[in-house]
């Protein structure tokens, strides 16, 4: 093995060791993605899975508790999450086949700002400024343009490990958001690249991403947050 390959292998192993989030799937149903986007800021979905079977009223109580522990939801988001939890993780969840009709809704026009609100703000905050030492800012973040598809990979597969953004260090675990559709991922990447002071940082030659690119990357089975970390490192010329 060449030294470079060895280093790559060692690095991957090192990153894999801190695989701190669980790739837990909840039953498919409307607004599941919103649950994924909001609940994983503080804990894995395993708490939800282990709690499955409690009543809608108990989920309502849990959402009150979670607000006390720092969860911030708009009223419409809260209602949607409660609907999902009370139905799909309630005492009598519908049989699996009943939820399969969902993809039809994905054909509707996707709003990047709405996806951002549901999927990104719980960690990166509404103003995209992030949280010091915890979550990196997306605002004025030149890394969004490291390559045409870099942010798509981050959203699809997650990112985990020590990184530096605008001179500040972060060491957190972003879970994969592959539960989002190709359209949604393309829309949110384009939205973030075009807002929060990022538009001015965009290289002239870099085009908006489309759903086709997302689909193509999604097809690369076995890609992990560790691979994205390595890709980022390569794009940054060995730094992080």
């Amino acid at each position: 093995m060449r030294a470079g390959t060895l280093l790559f292998a060692a690095l991957s192993a090192c990153v894999a060791l801190t695989a701190a989030y669980a790739a837990i799937e909840l039953p498919d149903g409307p607004n599941r993605a919103l649950v994924y986007g909001q609940c994983r800021t503080c804990h894995d979905l395993q708490y939800l899975k282990e709690s499955a079977g409690i009543t809608r009223d108990d989920w309502d109580q849990l959402l009150i508790s979670m607000k006390q522990y720092g969860l911030r939801l708009e009223p419409d988001q809260r209602a949607k999450i409660l609907d999902y939890l009370g139905t799909y993780l309630g005492p009598n969840p519908p049989p699996k086949t009943a939820a399969a009709a969902a993809p039809a809704a994905a054909a509707a026009k996707v709003d990047g700002a709405a996806v951002f609100k549901d999927q990104c703000t719980a960690c990166h905050q509404e103003n995209a400024q992030g949280v010091p030492e915890q979550f990196p800012p997306l605002a004025k973040n030149a890394d969004l343009f490291l390559s045409p598809d870099y942010p798509v990979r981050v959203v699809l597969f997650g990112l985990e490990g020590k990184i530096e953004v605008n001179g500040k260090k972060f060491d957190s675990a972003m879970p994969p958001l592959d539960v989002l559709s190709d359209q949604e991922i393309a829309a949110v990447v384009n939205y973030v690249r075009g807002h929060f002071g990022n538009a001015a940082l965009a290289p002239k030659t870099m085009k908006a991403v489309d759903a086709g690119l997302v689909a193509q990357l999604r097809g690369k089975k076995g890609t992990t947050a560790a691979h994205v970390y390595d890709y980022r490192k390569k794009l940054k010329g060995g730094g992080h």
């Binding site: 669980a22 503080c42 282990e50 409690i54 911030r72």
Partner: protein, 421 residues
């Protein structure tokens, strides 16, 4: 009146169901059943933990010990000790996912602030503490949610579904709290009624509540408390609260604040959600219909302070598949350390008949006490039960569901394990 009798009948019926056909769910079995698909192995979540621990939340490093491992050790080693943290660990602002000690740099820069209603606030470093006289305390450390899964027989409670493995028998070593506070000569105000301990780990969101615990200044449990620097003879592992953890022997895990950074003399208890709403137990018996998870106030409930008396059967476990004939039933019993454990009774017929087990005194009043009983089992299913009693007459409810509470704390029902011979 009618409601009450109805409820009693329901409990009775549910208990019979639980003690009968599904009795195994009550006991020590099913460790693998709670493993969710997609959850990484414990050894990859926290470096130094054994593979195969029962993971409740990877992101928070929450895991319990399979009883087949827990029973092997008089003192629970760090590689299998249960773990529970409240905040994820991004960046330099929280726990390192390892059973190794915190880094030298972290230890060197560590300070503990003694402040609040005092005339002379103080700050100590780890080096300062290391120069002081240390004492050892062997104590059970137990998650207040240990056994939460068993409450499901009345009504399932949300949260990590702990069985019996959220506990361990651990030797701590550190500086005794009260003499230390006296020696600092802070001139504490008469208005200070509470001592609040705060940890250094921080919530993931700006709106989250910081972790803090408050104790009455006169609490006798504090007489035995130490600012612990060592666990089982070595620096406290990062995930278990190193470099310094407040250890109050006989108190539930959450009361033993990890990563201690502040001890504050206060007129009132901390407004932290972890003190004022979370980790509390109602002051009176409640039912799912009468008391919800957010009905807790500081007036109708108390923090989960001291271990209620408890016993856990370690052997035989369902997976031991005992052969017909003479068997030995073993396990541990413990309480808050305020009275001797005087008796552990064991039953092999679901509680119809009982025999006294032999109880070996623990390493300290707060440590677990091993019990042993001989029994003869024929072919078939047997429901083993254990129940501890102490010198104050405190004992375990035969039906632990009598203490059902909406957040699922302090399970101490007589332990039930169904084995098939």
């Amino acid at each position: 009146m009618l409601d009450r009798s109805k409820r009693t009948r329901m409990n009775r019926r549910q208990f019979n169901v639980l003690a009968g056909a599904t009795g195994v769910a009550l006991g020590a079995g099913l460790p693998r059943a709670v493993l969710a698909e997609g959850t990484p192995d414990s050894a990859t979540i926290i470096k130094g933990k054994e593979s195969g621990m029962i993971v409740h939340n990877a992101k928070l490093g929450v895991m319990e010990t399979p009883l087949k491992d827990l029973r092997k050790h008089a003192i629970t080693p760090k590689n299998i000790l249960f773990n529970r943290l409240h905040f994820p660990h991004p960046g330099d602002s929280a726990w390192e996912a390892t059973t190794a000690a915190p880094s030298d740099a972290r230890v060197k820069g560590w300070t503990i602030r003694f402040d609040g209603l005092v005339q002379r606030p103080r700050t100590l470093t780890i080096a300062d503490l290391q120069k002081m006289g240390m004492e050892k305390r062997v104590s059970v450390i137990q998650c207040a949610g240990n056994g939460r899964a068993f409450y499901a027989a009345e009504k399932k409670v949300g949260g990590g579904q702990w069985h019996n493995g959220g506990m361990g028998n651990v030797e701590w070593e550190g500086v005794p709290l009260r003499p230390l506070l006296d020696s600092l000569k802070m001139a504490v105000s008469d208005k200070a009624l509470w001592l609040t301990a705060e940890g250094w780990d921080q919530p993931a969101t700006p709106e989250g509540s910081d972790f803090a615990k408050s104790y009455h200044i006169g609490d006798h449990a504090l007489d035995h408390a130490i600012l612990a620097l060592k666990m089982n003879g070595e620096p406290i592992p990062s995930v278990h609260g190193g470099p310094v953890r407040l250890i109050i022997p006989g108190y539930y895990g959450n009361m033993n604040v990890k990563y201690l950074t502040n001890l504050l003399f206060m007129a009132a208890q901390s407004p932290s959600v972890f003190q004022s709403v979370g980790y509390r137990f109602p002051n009176f018996p409640v039912t799912p219909a009468t008391f919800k998870a957010n009905d807790y106030t500081i007036y109708n409930s108390r923090p989960t302070y001291a271990h209620v008396i408890k016993s856990v059967i370690f052997s035989p476990l369902p997976e031991d598949k005992p052969k017909p004939g003479n068997i030995t039933i073993t396990g541990v019993a413990f309480n808050d350390g305020n009275a001797k454990i005087t008796k552990v009774e064991v039953s092999t017929d679901g509680g119809k008949t009982w025999t006294d087990a032999e109880v070996k005194e623990g390493m300290s009043p707060w440590a677990w006490h091993h019990f042993t009983a001989k029994a003869k089992l024929g072919k078939g299913k047997h429901l083993l039960v254990s129940r501890a009693t102490d010198a104050l007459g405190r004992t375990q409810p035969i039906n632990g569901l009598a203490r059902w509470n909406p957040r699922g704390y302090e399970w101490n029902g007589a332990d039930h394990v169904e084995v098939t011979v």
